[in-house]
Amino acid sequence: MKNQPVSQPTSEPPKPHPALEGARAAIGLPVILIGVTMVGVGGLARDVGYPVGAAALSTLLIWAGPAQVILFGSVAAGVALPAIALAILVSSMRFLPMTVSILPLARSRGSRRWQEFLAAHFVSMTTWVEGLRRLPDVPEERRMQFFLGFSTMIIGGATLATIGGFYLYTAVPTAIGAALLFMTPIFFAASLVASARRRDEWTAVVLGALLSLPAFAVLPSGADFLAVGVVGGSIAFLARSRREPAP
């Protein structure tokens, strides 16, 4: 039937390029959510007197909403550069566990070193949550390009929203402002709950919420997230190994 197939047998209809498929998957709620966040960041950059190029660059390079808010807020308050850097270093620590946990999932056989660094750069709350949800259904050899395409669409939309916000964002009525700011927590709460399937995943979600109350009361900001993550995640991990075999 076949004479020594060199490439993979193509019995299925041809699929679009995985990067294109990823980009298409980003259109919708994920890109809307990040756009809403970044419109505000663009307005913040303008308010501190930064040029529009710097606003766009902050989204492309920093790619972390909270860090960008800290940066522009600190610049406005006249905080010294090393102090800003230290505050952002602490607030961005979450990227270590987030990136470590998604890279092995996104990695394809034969993915290049530069692709891994680019994928790591693209990690944000949005791409992490969506990546964990979508990547397991993507064939392994297509995952890296899927994730890069997906993230490029997200970060591209976010950059455009930053530029748009720079020119257009003015004070919105309080009710609308509250609804926009609520997008982030409701989206992530719903996504994290929607992704939880097994007992250990449920435990991590529930403990993450419950442990926050004492952690916020006694720990400084930054350390509280890390403590909740490590304690909650570890208890959840024990819940798995005691009661269930490895997945």
Binding site: I62, L71, V205
Partner: protein
């Protein structure tokens, strides 16, 4: 390093690279090194993923319990019922995130109007 040597127009860009990009990116770079030999199904990776999940729930809790800006104008009961209502709809709709987000928003806006 002083403003006399570096043109003042470049300061915003330098600030973004030195105080924003590097302190954030270093964690992602470290993660590439740490993840180098990790297999997708390793127990350590599983633990890290659970840590990240709990950590992000804490970020969500912070945004809800200690909101900034306009969200603070909605009372705590309003914010909490909006997120719980959204999650209830999540289960009623076979985990439709968009339905949960829309429901949460409707509850939040209603609560904001009631509280006024």
């Amino acid at each position: 390093m002083s403003g006399a040597v570096i043109p003042v127009e470049l300061w915003p860009y330098l600030t973004i690279v030195l105080a924003g990009f590097l302190p954030t990116e270093i964690w992602r770079w470290l993660a590439v090194l740490a993840a180098r030999d990790l297999k997708e199904d390793s127990p350590f990776l599983h633990w890290v993923r659970l840590v990240a999940t709990a950590l992000l729930m804490a970020v969500v809790a912070k945004l809800l319990l200690h909101p900034t800006g306009a969200l603070a104008s909605v009372p705590l009961w309003g914010r909490l019922s909006a997120v719980l209502g959204g999650i209830a709809v999540l289960f009623a709709t076979r985990r439709s995130v968009i339905s949960a987000v829309l429901t949460g928003e409707v509850i939040l806006i209603s609560a904001g109007m009631l509280a006024r």
